[in-house]
Symmetry: C2
Subunit: 464 residues, 2 copies
């Protein structure tokens, strides 16, 4: 990506000043919501609403035309209809505005007339060198700059994961699921029709963005998908990228992607070929995408693929073993010294069977004992990361402090899977996740997290 | 199942009196928690703690031996160790107690000695005709009778779904996920080692249980799994059964189950063969199991497989279409009359494209318009059930009242997928679900729900 485009994209996500063209006083209109989005989000730069007749809006002076806006403008937020949007982009070009967010639909997604209109929009953006988001997009936000430009006024917890979504609705679902999971977001963009800025452009920008540690992508279509997966794979060598591709049962899409030339085989087979060919992590649901991004953003990476599991009820580790078996992840046998340490840790009544996964049975409810067992497991040289499963119990507390201490002591990743409602472990989640231990409440999401960490952390050791 | 066994199982879940053998005053012990579980859950029958030396426990008179308990006993909750459990069951037999819950582990799961001990336990239970839960189990509960006998003291919302789990930990995960989803439970059992009561026994009991509308099952192993799936399939003809089988990547398990005689092929292929052969619904995660049971318990069943989708952002319907494509579910084209009604409903600015799935774009944020569009879709004779997708917005309210009215008016199932955090739609969930509209916040879980409803409702029409 050339330096000029990168600079335009940087300004797009970090504007010093914004004009909202088509701002209105009618709360049901997009122009109202976009202006409210910028203000409600706490943007600290200059905001210039533009409307031909109104004089003030949401406490701000309104300018009758774009030309009359007094200061320099980094981003034009364009809330007018598809026809007026084209004129606005021409104006932006003449005025030297280098970035625009165009939310109106009514372009190529509606047929031939729309396509022709979109082609005019694109050629204007190209001629003037405007980085154009959309059209037909929900917009974008950057919590790091308190800049929210969507028609959903928002203010969200900050984090280090950025999302690029080909669907606004799935993008919003990801955002809400992240909130439900206690995961902060850095940047978020609904790419819309991708007329001038392609998904690969956002990826290239986020790849070099210091505020983004992990990139999560939702894809709908597969047009240019192979290029996209290749681009993601290049980035994934230095920064984790996780892709959720919808259209799971359209095996033909995957034939095109993998160049296998035959439509026989399942979606999962093609997905696995893609993962092997390109090394980029692919997942199968909103829940897995958020689970994977959460682990990659909160935890350190393991040095290898040796998974340890501590639990006090056997079943939940089975879903983890499912993942382990599929990925070739090993659950290493424990060394004799580890088993001795575990026996010491458990005092009077150690369980009869001491192996990995380690079922501490009833003894393990005592947080101190649980913590010592976790320490013993983490001391084992074969174990690179550990999942600590603990069941909510009225008369016992969660071993969160012990897990944090164990993680710090060992320097190895620790994930918690609390068998609990979210409500009953909300404070624990805050405590754990702010200190580097991601928390899950389902076996499949914990498994997706393990899978993601080993994918990006333990590949070399695991392959050898 | 013979009448005597059925009667014993009925008493097991609906005891008039309970003895807790091994009740103690030490809060860290299972015997304490089991007694507390019975009392904390609000059990209204007689409770007799048994301990050789203590005189009162948690406000109750304690009896030194089982023999000295004054009244008749329906269920013995046995909290002593694996050896004393065997003696206790012998005593129960001599005293005519016909049901017992044995939580202690230390049997076949620990090796040959344990296996021999378990054989003694089983032969005693057989000789005396005792319905024995476990051993090595978390226990069971029945919210309908306020009877909770697990070592996790609980008190849960009542509902009409019952769960049978081969794993206590996954059983607890299901229970907590159900709570997170606002889904009440009727009965729940962790089957433990299944020495005398097999999963098929619980199924046979729940099949004829008037308080259970839907049965959810978690399976670990596949020993006897084919029989089990066949039993479930027989029940599924009259009452929905949903199975989540772990060990997903152990394709060999499925070869045994499906009798295909070859290990080539994916887990999904085998699962689909099972579904086709037996007609029982199989799912792939805790989240899908709860999503499916929720829909089947809260909603009516559709008359056919014609799925309608209303949304105001295109993306989320793609995951539904994934399911549709896989299952051969149709998204029928809308009739001209339906399209006219939708145009009328949307007033000034109908979207350019009117088809199923119907994207109402911005206009659809107004709940009244959204509701009229939903009515128009439901009036279409090709549509048997409808998913209403709506995105949380600071300035608009959810169309919950409209969805309830539309469902009542049409008599067709309506499912809501709100693109929202759970926190932001908690009250809506209560409102919707108590009146027959299940609510989801993820596309995959909404898809699992649609899939479940069409599996059990619309099969005939869909096949034809």
């Amino acid at each position: 990506m050339d330096k000029e485009k990168l600079q335009a994209m940087h300004r797009l996500f970090n504007p010093r000043s914004v004009v909202v063209v088509g701002a209105t006083d009618s709360p049901g209109r997009v122009g109202y919501n976009l202006l409210e989005s910028v203000l409600y989000g706490g943007f600290k730069g200059q905001v210039y609403p533009v409307h031909p007749r109104l004089t003030t809006l949401q406490g701000l002076k309104v300018y009758p035309t774009l030309e009359e806006v007094p200061g320099p403008v980094d981003v034009a937020v364009v809330a007018v209809n598809q026809f007026a949007t084209v004129d606005t982009i021409a104006q932006c070009g003449r005025l030297g505005i280098k970035a625009a967010i165009c939310v109106a639909g009514g372009y190529r997604e509606t047929g031939d007339d729309g396509l022709r209109l979109e082609e005019r929009l694109v050629s204007l953006a190209r001629d003037y060198g405007i980085a154009l988001v959309g059209p037909n997009t929900l917009g974008l936000f950057n919590t790091g700059a308190d800049f929210y430009s969507t028609f959903y006024p928002l203010r969200l917890p900050k984090g280090r994961v950025s999302f690029v979504s080909q669907s606004g609705g799935i993008g919003l679902t990801l955002m809400h699921k992240a909130a439900d999971e206690g995961l902060g977001i850095n940047k978020w963009v609904g790419v819309g029709n991708r007329s001038t800025l392609e998904i690969s452009d956002y990826l290239a920008y986020l790849a070099q963005d210091n505020e983004t540690d992990v990139i999560g992508i939702f894809l709908e279509g597969t047009e240019q998908a192979r290029d996209l997966v290749q681009a993601a794979a290049r980035i994934a060598k230095s920064k984790p990228v996780v892709i959720y591709k919808a259209g799971r049962f359209a095996a033909n899409d995957y034939v095109a992607l993998t160049h296998t030339g035959t439509a026989a085989g399942s979606y999962r087979m093609y997905r696995d070929i893609l993962m092997d060919q390109f090394g980029v992590l692919m997942v199968d649901s909103v829940a897995e995408l958020v689970a994977a991004c959460k682990a990659l953003s909160i935890s350190t990476l393991p040095a290898g693929g040796g998974l340890g599991v501590v639990t006090h009820t056997a079943g939940p580790s089975i879903a983890l073993l499912d993942v382990a078996a599929r990925q070739g992840i090993s659950l290493p046998a424990l060394q004799p010294a580890t088993i001795n340490s575990i026996k010491d840790a458990m005092g009077q009544n150690p369980p009869v069977v001491l192996k990995n996964p380690l079922d501490t049975v009833g003894v393990g409810f005592e947080a101190g004992i649980y913590g010592r067992v976790v320490n013993a497991m983490l001391d084992d040289p074969g174990i690179d990361l550990l999942v600590a499963i603990y069941c909510l119990h009225k008369n016992w507390r969660f071993p969160s402090a012990e897990l944090l201490a164990a993680q710090q002591r060992s320097g190895k990743p620790v994930l918690a899977y609390y068998v609990s409602t979210w409500e009953a472990c909300r404070e624990e989640r805050q405590l754990l996740q702010s200190a580097g231990v991601p928390l899950y409440t389902s076996p499949e999401e914990a498994a997706a997290a393990v899978s993601a960490l080993i994918h990006y952390g333990g590949r070399e050791k695991h392959a050898g």
